[in-house]
Symmetry: C2
Subunit: 376 residues, 2 copies
């Protein structure tokens, strides 16, 4: 077989203002390019312990079992479901966008019995509906919801939803892929039992890692399972031997060394900034972007009180050719914004202000580019 003649890849420089990945600071990219060492090297395992400490800060939790899963956010999601849902478990799952739908799919594939609470795409999950679902299904063992719906930009009241589940003795699984680091995520204060996020959103790292955290209640449920976890790779009973840091570290799989250097650096930067400052920065840039978008006549699909600052979903005028407009933004302005997903495909744009992308220069560049494309 002849070797293909393919040159090294030189990516264009883009400004990333879609639903993730967000702009990755040079400091994080440089960290990823440091020399590779072994995954059982004491220097590496020390770094892992630091990463766990830093992640606890990001999640605002004391949970010992807090670590990055070696895969994208979808693997973090599946890790939560395959471990916590046992065949036959009733799970109340809230669907108000694509990622709630993906949770539902995970409940089914884990052998759970889903009870679906539906809300309109672009709206928060309605706590009254969740309360009603528990009233009809007092035997529900788990409540699952998306804190920050990446497909719509709607934020749900995680504290209220978790409190309902707690009252009914159910565990809580929360998707905070798009919220972690951009808007308050308070695992312990809210009483969340399992949460998963992604490295490439408000943490501004490259995609491929999924920070997760589990409460003691969650660990107890996993340890008490009567059936084995269906996934070998995601089985927390096995993963724990490597990540728990208790006693001898057991080989499970080869950790993605260099991406973990990058995540460590992203978390060091978050700690340096202070998480409250990061939240305030996302909020401030959102206010600036919002004012500009409204001036351009673009309307938000999410009511103001339910809006995520870091993900702005707007409709565009009917005369606009969606794909052509986004292609022009990319080719003329090197600007990436997000298309609509699922039921909202072709109907909205999703403009991200996540992590390092949440800065004034990006807001200004984006507004200028949009004005040009909209002929304003």
């Amino acid at each position: 077989m002849q070797p293909p003649k393919i040159a090294s890849f030189q990516p264009p420089r883009r400004t990333l203002m879609g639903p993730g990945p967000s702009d990755v600071p040079r400091r994080i990219l440089d960290a990823m390019a440091r020399p590779t060492i072994g995954h059982l090297d004491p220097a590496f395992t020390d770094m892992m312990e630091q990463t766990k400490t830093l992640l606890r800060y990001a999640f605002q939790t004391e949970n010992k079992l807090t670590f990055p899963v070696s895969g994208p956010g979808s693997v973090g999601m599946e890790t939560c479901f395959v471990n916590l849902v046992e065949p036959g478990d009733k799970v109340i799952v809230c669907v108000n966008g694509v990622f709630g739908g993906r949770m539902l799919e995970n409940v089914k594939r884990s052998g759970g019995v889903p009870v679906v609470v539906e809300d309109a795409w672009g709206r928060a999950v309605d706590p009254a509906k969740v309360e009603a679902a528990f009233a009809s299904h007092p035997d529900a063992k788990i409540l699952a919801f998306v804190h920050a719906e990446t497909s719509t930009g709607a934020q749900s009241d995680a504290a209220a939803l978790a409190a309902i589940a707690r009252k009914h003795g159910a565990l809580v699984i929360m998707d905070c892929v798009t919220s972690l680091g951009g808007t308050p995520v308070l695992i312990d204060a809210w009483g969340i039992d399992a949460a998963y996020s992604g490295s490439q959103k408000c943490l501004s790292c490259t995609p491929g890692l999924s920070p997760v955290t589990f409460s003691q209640r969650a660990i107890d449920k996993v340890k008490a399972r009567g059936t084995p976890v269906q996934s070998w790779f995601m089985d927390l009973n096995l993963v724990l031997g490597y990540w728990s840091g208790e006693g001898k570290r057991t080989y499970h799989h080869t950790a993605p060394i260099n991406p973990l250097y990058g995540l460590h650096e992203a978390l060091v930067m978050l700690a340096e900034e202070g998480i409250e400052n990061a939240w305030a920065r996302h909020r401030a840039q959102h206010e600036a972007l919002k004012a500009g978008l409204e001036k351009l006549g673009l309307e938000f699909i999410v009511p103001e009180a339910e809006r995520l600052p870091q993900l702005n979903s707007v409709t565009f005028p009917e005369w606009v050719d969606d794909a052509a407009a986004r292609a022009r933004l990319l080719n003329e302005f090197n600007l990436e914004i997000g298309a609509g997903l699922g039921a909202l495909a072709g109907k909205i744009w999703r403009i991200g202000l996540m992590g390092a992308s949440a800065r004034r220069e990006n807001v200004d560049d984006c507004l200028k580019a949009l004005a040009a494309v909209l002929g304003k």
Copy 2:
């Protein structure tokens, strides 16, 4: 919560001669540090198509469905099993080390009925036993074996094993984590239906990606399944929408952009060298290492005809304190070699000559360091 005061991580420089990760060339690390772009950016999807072409060359296959799974080798393994094994399927699984054992675990968790063919750790899989297993279980639908056992350094005769399966109308799943790029892996010539590898072995990239390839027979089996694939993330029916390159690319998960830059570069380097030259280089460095190890009185555990050039497992004198010796290699010589795994823990060292680590300087440094530790 107070932010933790943790500094940026500066890894030590190591020479990596364990069972992977291997030394990662600066060229690959630099590629990983290029600016992040979106996973649906046309520039990125073009790069993905190139990566598929380059991987076909590495696997020596025309298989259309050849791509890197967004996770470590263990996820590649699980992807093969959860897709190809349907509940109740009889699977002949060969166990001659840790990774054959992991295959067995995957068969069980996928609902398959395993028929185990056992061979001693340190030996190749015996084709006669596989033939006998098919004779006793003519209804077996799949044969699964490890081409290059990373826990022992034994290489099995993949062509012979696959031919037996073909004769009995069974599909073949092959682990080539440690062989791909280091020793011939001929997917099409051997008639392998599903194979998975890792980025961090003879491809010399950082860990975290798992190249896989599937034959049309394998795809047909996945498409004809009567039961859904238990994993959402690994379900090839869904993954295909993103990686197949046919028609519109559908969002499935956010691909690990920068690690994929690294893999692309590693594969460009392999094509530049020529895969036959890479195989010859691994063989030549093995011969040099072997001569030196024998001079030091270290004995190989694998019979010569069954040895992998890129992974050299040797016993060490009884008086040697395993952990202390390896710690000294690491601390005084910045050299990582591998410990024994599973039943061989504390009994052997595994010395890797994979990818960029397979060069004369590494061999010489390693032999000098071992001589010092052994007091020679």
